[in-house]
């Protein structure tokens, strides 16, 4: 799993690429929690290049969301592919995460 991080006006944007599954979870969880801890807790997760995710991948999203909320921040999801969107909707997590197809709109949600 490849993780790319940048910051725009205090908002962290992390793009993930690959499969977000159990084998990758410890590394990805650690890195995303570090981003939240060191930043303002406002995080855009760009999942355009995540082609597959399992429930352990979902556990990372929820853990990072909880960490962000503890800092009065938020995590929004950007550019879900159909497979990942289907999983998010199946598990009703679209009721927790705001989901955007456009980065400008995602950033606006966190400002």
């Amino acid at each position: 799993m490849v993780l790319t991080h940048r910051n725009t006006d205090g908002i962290d944007i992390v793009a993930l690429a690959g499969r977000l599954v159990m084998a990758d979870v410890p590394q990805v969880r650690q890195r995303l929690l570090a981003v939240v801890e060191q930043g303002q807790g406002k995080l855009v997760l760009d999942l355009a290049d995540v082609g597959f995710m399992d429930s352990s991948g979902l556990s990372v999203l929820v853990s990072v969301f909880k960490a962000a909320r503890l800092k009065n921040g938020d995590v929004v999801l950007l550019r879900l592919n159909p497979t990942v969107r289907s999983l998010i909707e199946l598990t009703r997590l679209h009721q927790v995460f705001s989901i955007f197809d456009d980065e400008t709109a995602a950033l606006a949600r966190l400002r």
């Binding site: 599954v21 159990m22 929820v62 909880k66 159909p82 997590l93 927790v96």
Partner: protein
Amino acid sequence: MAMTRTISLAIDSRPECIELLSLALRGLCGLTALPPLAIAEIDLAMVEAVNNAVEHAYRGEPGHSVVVELRLSPGCLGLSVRDRGEPMDPWRLAGSAEIAEPDRADPATWRPRGRGLAIIKSCMDSVEYQIQDGANILVMSRKLDRAGPGSGS
């Protein structure tokens, strides 16, 4: 004449080996007319079942075998996941029909874990748990003409 074709695959109980099973499953699904989202759902069900074997039955310990059998029949794809670790409480499967509704306003509902079995049941048409000769087996099947992704019970 159409007949059932079966392949068995064994991996070591390490998370990094699970992707190999996904690659094989997707190759087999290429023999069907299943749409990409349906293939992804079947892959997801298999991955969740193998995750459970690795993480719970074998408690994350490498060096054990997880065996997946794929069965392609006319109109149906079957798969079973077999381990010889700690058995699952069968009631866990019976009690996992519904996925709990998370509420953005209620942190108590932001559960990181516990969705695997419900995902499996949603992605497949039938799911049974068996214990045979000391092996734990999750047996699943999905009709090839199922209406569409996420339409299972």
